[in-house]
């Protein structure tokens, strides 16, 4: 080996590996600041306006061709239902949106909260899906291809809002079911989702996400007495397409307020960023170590052979 010493080779290798690791880390931080697609649409949900009529549930059922509910949509007794130690209703394979009633302390009227997929800017469900069934469309919707879904339920665990539901009723082909922002039938044609359109109170305002954020803060500024000074979903888990204004503290009306502002993927991105580096560099690096470690032995061995050869030549 001429021109490059063992020490130099090792130094170069380590410096190279370090630089690769650093550059990967920088990339990971940069992508965490993504703010979704620039022209993404969204929905601003003003919970102070909701009267709990459940029209949105009915409209969703019709639009998505969901099976008949157990109770009529005008049946208000459904708000009294609780499951598993007081848990309110949640979305399932037959209902992609549900409205729940809360009675926070100090508020005169009950507060109704509509639940559906919040369509995250950086969806954890999408990240967790190993068959790539999920897509975040440029319009803002988080949709999924039921033909690709293998029913592993990773997304149900990954979702910070407990939204994806599972078709447990299907014995042969159970898959994930969730709100798709009416993407197929409406959003991609520039129309608002069915629940937004039917709402008699305009609880939901459909528009460009960026403008909705401005409108939301304007509402808080104009009527500070009506709203909690926070727009839920503006920053939570990296931002969501559906955002909420509330007349009562969010934690009292069923929202998780312990959510980080970083997208869920940031929890694992740095670690996962090192995996390709390990796969690409370690084999070469350790092969190098191995070759260097055994080189001296080879030279000695080779030297012996050479000597033997000379001896034989002399003898002859």
């Amino acid at each position: 080996m001429s021109g490059i010493s063992r020490r130099k080779f090792l130094t170069c290798t380590l410096v190279g590996a370090g630089a690769t690791a650093l550059s990967l880390k920088t990339d990971a931080f940069a992508s965490a600041k993504l703010e979704g697609y620039p022209d993404s649409m969204g929905v601003l949900v003003d919970l102070g306006r909701c009267v709990g009529c459940r029209s949105c549930e009915a409209a969703c059922n019709r639009e998505q061709n969901l099976p008949a509910p157990a109770q009529s949509f005008e049946d208000q007794s459904i708000f009294d239902q609780t499951f598993h130690n007081g848990q309110k209703r949640r979305t399932d394979e037959n209902a992609y949106t549900v409205v729940n009633r809360y009675e926070p302390e100090g508020t005169e009227n009950p507060v109704y909260r509509k639940v559906q997929c919040n369509h995250c800017n950086e969806p954890a469900c999408l990240t967790s899906c190993f068959v790539n069934a999920y897509t975040k469309t440029s319009e803002g919707a988080v949709i999924y291809n039921p033909n690709i879904c293998v029913g592993c339920r990773n997304c149900m665990i990954a979702c910070p809002f407990n939204v994806p539901a599972y078709s447990y009723s299907s014995a042969t082909n159970p898959i994930i079911k969730k709100c798709i922002f009416c993407y197929d039938t409406r959003l991609k044609n520039g129309q608002p989702p069915a629940c937004v359109e039917i709402c008699p109170q305009q609880v939901m305002t459909f528009g460009h996400r960026k403008e909705l954020i401005e409108i939301a803060h304007e509402r808080i500024k104009t009527h500070p007495d009506r709203y909690i000074d926070h727009l839920y979903g503006e920053d939570e888990v990296g931002g969501t397409s559906w955002m909420y204004l509330a007349p009562a503290p969010f934690e009292e009306i069923g929202f998780d307020t312990t959510m980080n502002n970083e997208p869920i993927i940031s929890n694992v991105k740095d670690f996962l960023g090192t995996v390709p580096m390990v796969l690409a560099i370690w084999p070469a690096l350790f092969t190098g170590f191995h070759l260097l470690a055994t080189r001296k032995h080879d030279i000695e061995h080779h030297g012996d052979d050479h000597q033997k050869h000379k001896d034989e030549e002399k003898k002859s």
């Binding site: 509910p69 109770q71 949509f73 608002p192 937004v196 109170q201 459909f206």
Partner: protein, 174 residues
Amino acid sequence: MRIKMIVPVIVATFVLVAGFTSLPAEAAPPAQVRIDQLSKDFEPVLFDHANHIEMVGDCGECHHHTTGTAAKDPDCMRCHNSGSSGERVACRDCHAAEPFSADHLKTTTEDRKRYHRDLLGLKAAYHRSCMGCHEAGGGPTGCLDCHLRTESGDALFRAGKHTPTPTEKAAGHH
């Protein structure tokens, strides 16, 4: 505008009493407004405007500043402090029937200087204007008090003859 024979009399009386004599004759308020935006699922509502004029008395309660009086909301008064009447009075003149259509969204997106960007659509303008008074003043507040559902509406809400039967309920997911 549908004006019946008896209406001009009521209207004229009201106009005189309220002192709106400067209003041109064609701007007389309608006695009845037919609201049929949701006619797929609900029968049209015939809103008795004349009756509400009598009951409420002050047009500004519902029409903000467009009937000649100053706005009531201090926030609105910053601009609408004198009242302007005539051109835009009906709810639908400002509140769009389809507030989220691509065309209507364009108007707010392209006109960045527009102040009223967060304007209610027509349906919500009706409901939110009506319900506040009805709740405070003991008016009807149930959906079906004003809206009769059509066959399609019953199917939508799974009500009437479309109400799920107890056996369906038992077969439900809960």
